[in-house]
C-alpha cells in the first residue's frame, strides 16, 4: 500500500503536495483513499499489480500508484485504460525511459491513440486544437503519465530531470488520430495491429513545430513541395535528427495536407519513403555546424533516419495551412524508438457512479 499523507483539508493537502514536489506545478485533484480506490476498482486489476520499474528512481509502477496519478491529473475512470497502456508503453525497454527522463534534451512522451478506445476512453480529441487546451481526456491522460514519471520515476527538474528548458508538452502531450477523416489506413493498422484494437503509440518528442504549406491544385509539384517542407521541418540542421541521426520523429498532417498527398496517389508508406529520401544531406553541411558529430560519417552524404519506418505519420488537427512535425532526441540505448502498446479495454469496469472518481 502507498503511504498515506495527512492534512486537515484539501487546500492544506494541495500545498503539502506542492511542497513535496509531487505535482507538476498546477493544482491537482487530491488523491484521497476513496478516489484512488474507485480508480483502482475501475481498472479491473489488483492494486498491487506491478506494471514495471520506472526510472531513473526505480519506483515500482503498481496499478495503485498509476491510479493515484490518474486521480491527481483529473482523469475520469474511463481514461484509465489509456493511462495504464501509456505507462506500460514507456516501461518497455526500447523506450529508454530512465535515460529519457535524465537527458538535457527537452523530450517529452507524446501519446498517440488509435482505435475505438479513442471514443470510449475519452473522447480523445483529434481535430482542431487537439494538442491545445480544452480537451479533458487529452489533458488528463498525458498529465497522468507525467505525474507517474515525477512520482514513480522520480523526475525532478535540475536534480534527476536535466532538461535544460523542457517544453510545454511535459505537462501533457496526447492526441488521437482522426481515423474517420484520414485518407490513409489508421496508423496502428500500419504498425501491425488489428483495426479493432485500441493502441497507444508513445515517442519521446520535441514540442510540435509548425509547418506551413499553402496547397495549389494547379501546381503539378504540389505534393512534392509539401513533402519537401515537411522534411525541412522534420530534420533541419537545428534538430537532433539531423545531427545525431537515427532516431524517430513524428509528422502530423492536417486534413488538407493529407488530401494533397493522397490525391497524388501517395499512401503512408510512399510518404515515409519520400521523407526518408529527402532527409539525406551532404556530410559537409553537417561538418559546418557540428564537426565533432560529423567526424563519424565517412560518406559524402548521410541519412537522418535509418529507415522510413522510423517516422510516425498520422492525420489530426483542423483543416488549413499548418501541419506539425516533432523531431526527437535520437539518443539513449535504442535511439529514441517509438513503442506501441495495446489498450486492455476488456479489463475496465464501468461502474455507475464512479465516472467522476
Amino acid at each position: 500500500m502507498t503511504e498515506l499523507m495527512q492534512a486537515n483539508d484539501e487546500s492544506s493537502a494541495l500545498e503539502a503536495m506542492h511542497s513535496a514536489g509531487m505535482t507538476d506545478g498546477l493544482p491537482v485533484v487530491i488523491p484521497t483513499p476513496d478516489r484512488v480506490a474507485s480508480m483502482v476498482l475501475a481498472s479491473g486489476q489488483d492494486a498491487d499489480m506491478q506494471l514495471g520499474v520506472m526510472g531513473p528512481a526505480g519506483g515500482g509502477a503498481t496499478i495503485e500508484k498509476v491510479a493515484i496519478a490518474a486521480v491527481m491529473a483529473g482523469c475520469l475512470t474511463e481514461h484509465l485504460p489509456v493511462v495504464i497502456a501509456a505507462v506500460q508503453a514507456v516501461l518497455q525497454d526500447e523506450f529508454d525511459l530512465a535515460q529519457m527522463q535524465s537527458t538535457t534534451h527537452c523530450t517529452a512522451p507524446l501519446i498517440i491513440v488509435n482505435g475505438p478506445g479513442r471514443l470510449s476512453c475519452g473522447p480523445i480529441a483529434s481535430g482542431f486544437g487537439a494538442l491545445g487546451p480544452g480537451h479533458r481526456a487529452n489533458a488528463s491522460i498525458g498529465r497522468a503519465l507525467r505525474l507517474c514519471m515525477i512520482n514513480i520515476g522520480g523526475a525532478k527538474a535540475g536534480e534527476s530531470d536535466m532538461a535544460l528548458l523542457g517544453h510545454p508538452g511535459k505537462f501533457t502531450y496526447c492526441l488521437a488520430e482522426d481515423e474517420e477523416h484520414s485518407p490513409f489506413a489508421p496508423m496502428h493498422q500500419d504498425l501491425g495491429y488489428d483495426i479493432e484494437e485500441t493502441v497507444v503509440t508513445v515517442i519521446g518528442a520535441e514540442a510540435p513545430h509548425s509547418v506551413i504549406y499553402s496547397g495549389d491544385a494547379d501546381d503539378p509539384q504540389d505534393a512534392a513541395k509539401l513533402l519537401e517542407v515537411l522534411a525541412i521541418g522534420l530534420a533541419n540542421m537545428a534538430t537532433n535528427n539531423a545531427v545525431l541521426t537515427g532516431g524517430g520523429a513524428v509528422v502530423v498532417l492536417n486534413p488538407e495536407h493529407a488530401k494533397i498527398l493522397a490525391d497524388a496517389g501517395l499512401d503512408r508508406a510512399a510518404i515515409l519513403q519520400r521523407l526518408f529520401e529527402l532527409t539525406e544531406y551532404p556530410t559537409e553541411r553537417l561538418s559546418y555546424f557540428a564537426a565533432g558529430f560529423a567526424s563519424r560519417i565517412k560518406d559524402e552524404t548521410y541519412r537522418c533516419f535509418h529507415s522510413p519506418q522510423d517516422i510516425l505519420l498520422l492525420m489530426a488537427g483542423g483543416s488549413g495551412l499548418y501541419s506539425m512535425v516533432m523531431p526527437s532526441w535520437c539518443a539513449g540505448a535504442h535511439q529514441n524508438r517509438y513503442v506501441s502498446q495495446r489498450v486492455e479495454l476488456d479489463l475496465y469496469c464501468d461502474i455507475p457512479g464512479l465516472g467522476d472518481a
Partner: protein, 59 residues
C-alpha cells in the same frame, strides 16, 4: 569511477542513490566543459588526473 561536471553533481548523487551505489567514486569537473577548447580541456585533464588516481587507489 564517474566524472561529473558541477552542474550535474546533484544528478550524479540522485543516480548513485537510485542504483544503490551511494558511495561510488566521483570526480567533479568544471561546467561547462564541452566546447571550451582543446587548451582548456587539456588543462582540466591535467588538473583532475591526480584526483582520479587517488579515488581509484581508495576504491
Amino acid at each position: 569511477m564517474a566524472l561529473v561536471t558541477e552542474d550535474f553533481w546533484p544528478q550524479g548523487n540522485f543516480t548513485a542513490d537510485s542504483l544503490g551505489m551511494p558511495l561510488i567514486p566521483r570526480v567533479k569537473l568544471p561546467h561547462p566543459l564541452a566546447g571550451t577548447g582543446q587548451e582548456n580541456l587539456h588543462a582540466v585533464a591535467k588538473a583532475i588526473a591526480p584526483l582520479i588516481v587517488e579515488q581509484l587507489k581508495n576504491d
